[in-house]
């Protein structure tokens, strides 16, 4: 088993406040990896450092999406790259896709069009070819439409494909976002609090969906989540952090037994 993501010694501070302090963890291939921590622990910051929205002060973010992916993204002859310093919009080219905590969809476009945006980086037609609607651009468009429909079918919302995304209920929007990540042929999907705002049965569905995505697309999933039930249910490995520092890592069972994790969540401290 190889590692798709290796975060090493990540640190970042905002105005003197250390948001992340020397954090390291590793996500393996085909693994569902949970990142947990109490409020303000820096989960989202980790996330933003991995996806390059923030540039970490120190540390590396090794990403190994497979040689063919790297060749396609223009990095032949290497099996992993350091994401730090890459422009945000390039990250997805390596097969690293994310969803957003507060679901970012485009209300004025149809569900299908929203999904199609996920395939943006793989569109080969030039701007000019698209402006003039050359046959090649049209063929490519048709091909991606079919792919987008498949992604919607996978998440059982294909029947909504031609409706406007803006009017859809929250659950559908969340699925829509997931379908969008599938368009980029992901190697690693980062889900930012996917269970937020879902009820119990929806959360169970979600767990099932996450597993199906992993099994069908052979990718890894990095789950940043509050809902302990979901995390313990689906994750193979979990990393717990608190105040930007590494706390513990292991399987769900190990984490549940870990004293440090309990302390961090309950705020108890025997001694300093």
């Amino acid at each position: 088993m190889t590692d798709v993501l290796q975060v090493e010694n990540l640190s970042i501070s905002f105005g003197g406040l250390k948001a992340l302090d020397d954090l390291s963890f590793t996500v393996s291939d085909h693994e569902i990896f949970g990142l947990i921590g109490p409020n303000g622990a820096g989960k989202t910051t980790v996330f933003n450092c991995v996806t390059q929205f923030y540039r970490p002060d120190t540390g590396t973010v090794w990403f190994a999406p497979g040689v063919d992916r790297l060749v396609r993204a223009g990095h032949a002859g290497t099996d992993r790259i350091d994401l730090v310093g890459q422009p945000v919009h390039r990250v997805i080219r390596y097969g690293l896709v994310r969803t957003f905590q507060n679901v970012e969809i485009i209300p004025e476009l149809t569900v299908l069009d929203n999904v199609l945006i996920g395939g943006h980086v793989d569109f080969r037609s030039s701007m000019i070819a698209q402006m003039l609607r050359l046959p090649r651009a049209r063929a490519e468009e048709a091909q991606y439409r079919e792919k987008a429909r498949e992604a919607l079918r996978f998440l059982s919302i294909e029947h909504l494909a031609d409706q406007l995304a803006g009017g859809q209920p929250y659950g559908v929007r969340k699925r829509l976002e997931m379908a969008r990540t599938l368009m980029a042929e992901p190697r690693l999907i980062i889900l930012d609090e996917p269970a937020a705002g879902l009820n119990e049965s929806e959360t169970e569905d979600l767990a099932d969906t996450i597993r199906r995505i992993r099994d069908t697309f052979g990718c890894s999933v990095l789950l940043v989540e509050h809902d302990m039930g979901l995390v313990m249910d689906v994750c193979d490995q979990i990393c717990a952090i608190s105040f930007g520092k590494f706390l513990a890592s292991g399987t769900p069972v190990e984490i549940q037994r870990d004293v440090r994790v309990h302390e961090a969540y309950l705020g108890e401290r025997d001694d300093a």
Partner: protein, 275 residues
């Protein structure tokens, strides 16, 4: 004088986050009012300026009450477009109210000049510079030392928090608009003697003031003032020694190039976007 217009823009930007494109034309409007009072009634300059100040304050109030305040829900872009609309309204209103004939405004000090090396500086120019510095300094003192200044700065740094802390942010915003109006008017009165008072005579001022903000950076109050004086000096220098026709254009291009090197301006800081 550019400094004053720039200060007006930055004041509005910091308090209501609107890029005030109408600063020049509002200044033009009240400046024209000054010229109108002066030319028609024969009132002395200081009295006309007082009238102009009243007009400027009234305009600032009117704009904030009637338009800006109701745009809370609109985008920043929407608000900016509205200030563009305001330009047109003022450009259209001025000739209707004050007539279409170009008017002249006298200098406060009619003649006399200071010679420093090759450069001449009229006493009036000197007065303008001193006035500009004095007003800018006065504003800084007000911003730093008084309660109102504190309120403005608090609103500038975070409106929501300021409101929660009991600062009447609405009043602060109105005040900023009115103050910007007066600053614009003063800038207009200072510029006017060098040209004739027509609806477009403040265009250059608008452009220069915006550029002063760009050059100085939008984060501080003193940056734009610094930028304005720098632009004025550099502009004169270029016109004197390089080309009287192309000097100004050259300066603008230089500032654009400057943006490549220091995108956030002279005293600007980068800021982190929250995701």
């Amino acid at each position: 004088m550019y400094a004053l217009a720039a200060l007006g823009i930055i004041l509005v930007w910091r308090t209501s986050l609107v890029m005030h494109f109408a600063q020049g034309s509002m200044g033009m409007f009240s400046g024209t009012a000054v010229a109108f009072v002066l030319n028609r009634t024969g009132a002395p300059l200081w009295a006309s300026v007082l009238v102009g100040a009243a007009v400027a304050i009234a305009l600032g109030f009117a704009v904030d009450f009637a338009v800006i305040r109701r745009l809370r829900r609109a985008t920043a872009v929407g608000k900016e477009i509205v200030t563009l609309g305001l330009i047109m309204v003022f450009l259209g209103l001025a000739p209707i109210l004050f007539g279409t004939e170009p008017m002249l405004l006298p200098k406060a000090i009619p003649d006399g000049a200071l010679t420093i090396g090759d450069a001449y500086l009229s006493y009036n120019g000197l007065l303008n510079i001193c006035l500009g510095v004095a007003i800018a300094a006065g504003l800084f003192v007000m911003l730093q030392k008084t309660k109102i200044g504190l309120a403005i700065r608090a609103t500038a740094s975070n409106e929501q928090t300021a409101r929660l802390m009991g600062i009447p942010t609405r009043r602060v915003t109105v005040l900023a608009w009115a103050a910007a109006g007066v600053l614009g008017m003063l800038a207009a009165v200072m510029i006017a003697p060098a040209t004739t008072v027509t609806p477009t005579f403040m265009n250059t001022v608008q452009v220069t003031a915006l550029f002063a903000c760009v050059l100085g950076g939008f984060q501080t109050f003193y940056g734009p003032v610094l930028g304005a004086y720098l632009i004025a000096v550099a502009g004169n220098f270029l016109q004197l020694y390089v080309s009287s026709v192309w000097g100004e254009q050259l300066l603008y291009l230089l500032i654009l190039l400057f943006l490549l090197v220091r995108p956030n301006g002279l005293v600007g800081k980068t800021y982190l976007k929250k995701v």
